[in-house]
């Protein structure tokens, strides 16, 4: 149940999987994203409502084939330049996008967690999202005749979240802004949770979400694993890192240096990352 992060990623995530690393500004599983990059996973369909800098990094490292999302940006700073480069120049590999609104994505996860084939909402009507995404449709209410939007459930192969803490049985506790993590976890086939710490007893916290251990496949203890986002009660958001990412992300060379440094740091397993670590510099025109 409690596994080192590299082993948990290797055990639970495979090339070609649909993977959701969720977190709405808070508790973003950044360290797990970096381990995915180190292990050189490929052809992932990455799902997330708010892909931010760790998704920019995964995309720039060539891990993703497709991105399913509703808002892709650097919160409070601007655009994601690796994401832009992938969409407009197919660098380092082409990136297919499927985009929704936040309300649409949130309800897709709710349907996924609920074992339903699709979700309904009032939304999308009149927007060009409708024509550009075949996964947005409408359905007529059998009781009132009202037409509402319909979107398919999302059921990731793996959902990865970061939480404040877990106990030895793998029960996971998170609080503060809890976003979409409960739904994303319950919608998934497999669940990996990184935590700040493992404790003997989980004392209740107001507003908490508790993921019972029976729905969690692996817990990895990664203190600081959400940085530069934050973990309520543990550490603050490092706003300067988000601003700094703008400079790195804008430039392929600066990004490639960043990537080389990441993949060279301990935690990488040479037998895997040595073979498949991406080398986007090689495909720079």
């Amino acid at each position: 149940m409690v596994l080192p992060l590299d082993e948990a990623v290797r055990t639970l995530i495979r090339d070609g999987d649909t993977v959701a690393l969720e977190g709405f500004t808070h508790l973003i599983p950044v360290a797990a994203g970096h381990e995915i990059i180190r292990q050189g996973l490929r052809d992932l369909t990455l799902v997330r409502m708010t892909p931010d800098i760790v998704y920019d990094q995964l995309i720039g490292a060539g891990c993703a084939r497709k991105l399913v999302f509703s808002w892709g940006g650097n919160p409070g700073v601007g655009s994601l330049h690796r994401f832009r480069d992938a969409v407009t120049h197919s660098w380092p590999v082409p990136l297919e996008v499927e985009e929704h609104s936040h309300a649409g994505m949130a309800n897709r996860y709710v349907a996924g967690a609920s074992g339903l084939p699709f979700a309904i909402l009032r939304g999308y009507s009149g927007t060009d999202l409708v024509g550009s995404n075949p996964n947005i449709s409408t359905v007529t209410c059998p009781f009132t005749g009202q037409e509402v939007a319909a979107v398919p459930a999302v059921n990731p192969d793996v959902t990865v979240v970061h939480a404040q803490r877990a106990d030895h049985d793998g029960n996971v506790q998170l609080w503060g802004i809890t976003g979409i993590q409960k739904e994303a976890a319950l919608a998934a086939e497999r669940v990996l949770v990184t935590v700040e710490e493992v404790v003997d007893t989980l004392e209740p916290v107001p507003g908490q979400v508790l993921l019972p251990g029976r729905v969690v496949d692996a817990v990895s203890v990664v203190p600081g694993g959400a940085a530069p986002s934050y973990a309520h009660g543990y550490y603050e958001r490092d706003n300067s890192a988000y601003k700094e990412w703008d400079r790195i992300g804008r430039d392929r060379e600066a990004f490639t240096s960043w990537l080389d440094e990441l993949t060279a740091t301990p935690g990488a397993r040479p037998e895997r990352s040595g073979e498949t670590t991406p080398d986007p510099a090689g495909s720079t025109s």
Binding site: G72, P75, R84, S101, A106, G126, I180
Partner: protein
Amino acid sequence: MTTVTWTSDEIMTVTAARSLEDGMSCFVGIGLPSTAANVARRTHAPGLWMIYESGTLGTVPHHLPLSIGDGILTDTADTVVSVPEVFNYWLQAGRIDVGFLGAAQLDRYANINTTVIGDYEDPKVRLPGAGGAPEIAASCREVIVIMRHSSRAFVDRVDFVTSVGHGRGKGDRERLGLRGAGPTRVITDLGVLEPDPETSELVLTGVHPGVEVEQVVEATGWDLRIADDLVRTPAPTDGELSVVRSLTGAR
């Protein structure tokens, strides 16, 4: 002659803040909307009920957050709810009075583009995308748009309708089943545009102090109509400016 003692961001912020009434519920985005809502709460609207889409309801931050999910929003909120709850129970159910939106492009019927510049399949510029905006535009009782005026941003037709303003004119919102009134004001660094009650086309209803009407017309990518009862925005007061500057850290 007016002496302008404020920046364009400051006049936009103050004008937007004045659009909010005490007691309203307000769906707040990051940037100028967040500054404006917090200025309103510190001046004429102490009972403004601010919601950030991260799920913080009734938050009263003592400094401005950089992101919609900063810890300061959680610490000071009446309650923090999940993302499905904020969109389904609060926004979709029609419980929000006013939503603030920005745009990369806005057209003459106040339709909003935050998705791509150029063709969707082969974009010139890929923008962040929809986020909460389509449903904010659909379901808030009214929407205020805040953005800088330029003929590149104020276009006859947006390249992509991310969020619906007034469609292609009067009656389109009703036909599309959108329950809120849509954009009722567009606040820019030059003035204020509002939909014509007959056609829903945006017309210039206000200019900021020190701004000439001709400047606004030139900065608009369609043949902008001027309201008969055009007003000049009252200059920001010293009190308003000092609140704005205390929040933004500007002197």
